[in-house]
């Protein structure tokens, strides 16, 4: 999970490394995902999300499709 300057840089890096392209999205969305996922990590009541809860986080940010399926 890396940060790139633009889509063109992602594409060039994938070509050079031979890695298939995964999912790319704005750093704004990445921040919202990080905030939703980790904001409560130091809470005593924290527990791992269920697959349904994780899916709800992804769906809420428009991160949908096969790439984001949990199983």
């Amino acid at each position: 999970m890396l940060a790139f300057r633009s889509e063109a840089h992602v594409n060039r890096w994938c070509e050079r490394t031979g890695l298939p392209k995964g999912a790319s999205f704005s750093l704004e969305t990445a921040w919202r995902l990080a905030d939703a996922w980790y904001r409560d990590r130091l809470s005593p009541s924290w527990r791992r999300r269920t697959p349904e809860e994780a899916r709800a986080v992804f769906d809420g940010l428009g991160l949908t499709g096969d790439f984001w399926r949990l199983t």
């Binding site: 940060a3 300057r5 790439f67």
Partner: protein, 160 residues
């Protein structure tokens, strides 16, 4: 029936213990910026070192933390990395390494929503600065790219 109840009680005690170990582990990591050993956590929680190591292993099995292969040394207590990475995070609480761009931003989220991630574009090596102020992205042109589909993250959590 009695054995089943006993098993449930022992299981619930282990979960309670693991919760305490998890909390202390994270507290120490955030305080010092360095991943605490099981022995350090054991001393604080009032456990034997072996009990704390067993708790570390259970937390790793539950995908709460990641240990260095074949050891009980912390590699990741997400979003924090126990080893230097390409994602340096500066927050008012302290400086940390994030495991990836998601975790680097997650470190800021976990510590109050203010901080900066310094990384570089893997394609061209140009530095990238991403800044969060008051819970909002304040600086950060660019994209995040996740290479591995979600269902395969735990096949190799070191490469996602």
């Amino acid at each position: 029936m009695v054995l089943a109840l006993l098993g449930a009680r022992v299981g619930s005690r282990a979960v309670e213990l693991d919760d305490r170990v998890r909390l202390v582990l994270y507290e120490r990591f955030v305080e010092t910026g360095v991943p605490p050993s099981a022995a350090e956590v054991a001393a604080e929680v009032g456990l034997g070192a072996e009990e704390a190591e067993a708790a570390y292993r259970r937390l790793a099995d539950a995908h709460v933390i990641v240990l260095m292969p074949g050891t009980t040394e912390l590699w990741m207590a997400a979003p924090l990395s126990g080893v230097p990475t390409a994602f340096r995070v500066e927050t008012p609480t302290g400086s940390f390494w994030g495991n990836c761009i998601w975790d680097a931003l997650g470190t800021i989220a976990m510590l109050g929503g203010r901080g900066t991630v310094e990384t570089g574009c893997p394609d061209c090596d140009e530095p990238l600065t991403i800044r969060v102020e008051a819970g909002e992205l304040a600086e950060g042109d660019g994209l995040a790219h996740f290479a591995v589909p979600v269902a395969r993250w735990w096949d190799n959590i070191g490469f996602t």
